[in-house]
Symmetry: C2
Subunit: 226 residues, 2 copies
C-alpha cells in the first residue's frame, strides 16, 4: 500500500505531545511567538525552535517575522479542520486528557476555533441562522441570503470590507464536541469579534475558552435561540 499522499508524515508531525499542544494553542487563530508557544507546550525555547522548524517544513504553520519576534500561526483553515477532526476521534474514543478539569465543560460550551465561535453556542448560532434563512447551504458550501446580508449589516458587520479579502466569506466547520457544523470563514470571524466588542463575551488569555457575560448570554439567546 504505497498509494496516495504521505499521511504518516503529517500525522507524526501532529503526534508529538509538545507539537500537538502548540497546534492546539494556535487553534485560537491568533499568531503566537516562539517563546509563547514554548511556554504553552511546557518546553524550553530551544526545543520549541526545533519543533517549529519541523512544523514549518511540514507546511502546518506559517511564519511572519516582525523585528526580533517571530509570529507563528496555523497555515490555513484546512489545518484547523483536520485538527478538529482528530479531536473528534479522540473524544469519541474516550481518549480524553488524563485530567478533565472544569475547563473541559467550558470548552464544550463555547470556545474559539481558529478565530470563530465553536462549541454549543457556535452550533446554536449556525442552526439558528439556517432556520431563519439568513444562511443557505449549497452543495458543500454555505452562503448568505439577501435577508442574511441585511441582518449582518444591522448587526454591525462591514460586508464590503470582508468581501474585499480573498478569504471565503462563509465556511461550515465541523465541531468535535457537538458533531455538527458551526460558522467559519471571514464572516464567522467578524461575528465573534463583533460580539466581543459588544461586550457579550470575554476571551480568556492563552486559552480557547470563551466566557459569555450575563448581558451577552441574554442578548445571544434572544437572537439565536431558535
Amino acid at each position: 500500500m504505497k498509494d496516495g499522499p504521505d499521511i504518516a508524515r503529517i500525522a507524526a508531525l501532529i503526534g508529538d505531545p509538545a507539537r500537538a499542544n502548540m497546534l492546539g494553542a494556535l487553534m485560537t487563530g491568533k499568531a503566537l511567538t516562539a517563546t509563547e508557544l514554548a511556554h504553552e507546550a511546557g518546553i524550553t525555547p530551544q526545543t520549541a525552535s526545533s519543533h517549529l522548524r519541523k512544523l514549518l517544513e511540514g507546511g502546518l504553520v506559517r511564519l511572519r517575522g516582525q523585528g526580533r519576534h517571530r509570529y507563528y500561526a496555523l497555515s490555513g483553515a484546512d489545518v484547523a479542520a483536520t485538527l478538529e477532526s482528530l479531536m473528534g476521534l479522540a473524544a469519541g474514543r474516550g481518549h480524553l486528557r488524563t485530567r478533565t478539569g472544569p475547563r473541559d465543560a467550558a470548552l464544550r460550551k463555547a470556545r474559539v476555533c481558529y478565530n470563530h465561535l465553536a462549541g454549543e453556542r457556535g452550533v446554536m448560532l449556525y442552526r439558528s441562522m439556517i432556520t431563519k434563512k439568513l444562511l443557505i447551504e449549497t452543495d458543500d458550501d454555505v452562503g448568505l441570503t439577501p435577508m442574511g446580508e441585511r441582518f449582518a449589516d444591522a448587526f454591525g458587520i462591514d460586508l464590503a470590507a470582508l468581501r474585499a479579502k480573498r478569504a471565503p466569506l462563509c465556511r461550515p466547520c465541523l465541531d468535535w464536541s457537538a458533531r455538527e457544523h458551526h460558522l467559519a470563514g471571514s464572516l464567522g470571524r467578524a461575528m465573534l469579534s463583533r460580539m466581543e466588542s459588544l461586550g457579550w463575551l470575554d476571551r480568556q488569555p492563552e486559552s480557547r475558552v470563551i466566557r459569555f457575560t450575563a448581558k451577552g448570554e441574554a442578548a445571544f439567546d434572544a437572537r439565536f435561540s431558535a
Copy 2:
C-alpha cells in the same frame, strides 16, 4: 494548553509508516487478516501484531475473530473521514509519496473509500445526483428525494433492506483529491456494489484503485455525466 481531547495520542498512532499503511489498506472498507496487513505494510507478522494491538487499544480498528483468522477493519466511518482529511492536508502541502507512480493518477480518477466510490467519478456521481434532484442536502446531511427513491429502485437497490440497518443511508464524505463531497453511507456502499455486479468496474485486489470497464464507463457517463 492542556485543554480538549488528547489529540497527540491518536495522531502518533497514525504517524507510524507501518500503521499508516495498514490503515490505508483498510480504507477499502474490507476487513483484512493480520498477515495480510503485515504484507501490505511490508513488515513481519510479529511486528504487525504489535502495531495492531496498539491500533485496537486506540480504538481506530475493530476486531472480529473467526477461527484461526483475526479480521481487522476500521472501527467506523469517522476514522475513514479523518484519514481522508489527513490525506487532503498532505496532498495540499505537496507531501506526496516520494515516487508518484501511475497508480496515483488512477487513484484520483476512481478509488474505494471505505466501501463507497471516491475520486473524480465519485464526485461526478454525487454532483449529478444533486443537480438531478435525486439527492438533497439538508443542514449537514444529505437525503434521498422521492424521485431519488424511484431512481434507486430502478437501479436495482433494495432500499428497504438498507433502511433496516442502523447505519445512515446517505452521508457526504469529503474527497482528498477533488476537495468536494462524494456519496457515502449504506446507499453509497450499495451503489458501488451494484455497479460491480453490473460489470461496470473491477476492484483490484489489495488496492483502492477502481478500474472502469469500457462498457461501464459509457453507462456511467450516460447516467451521471451531468
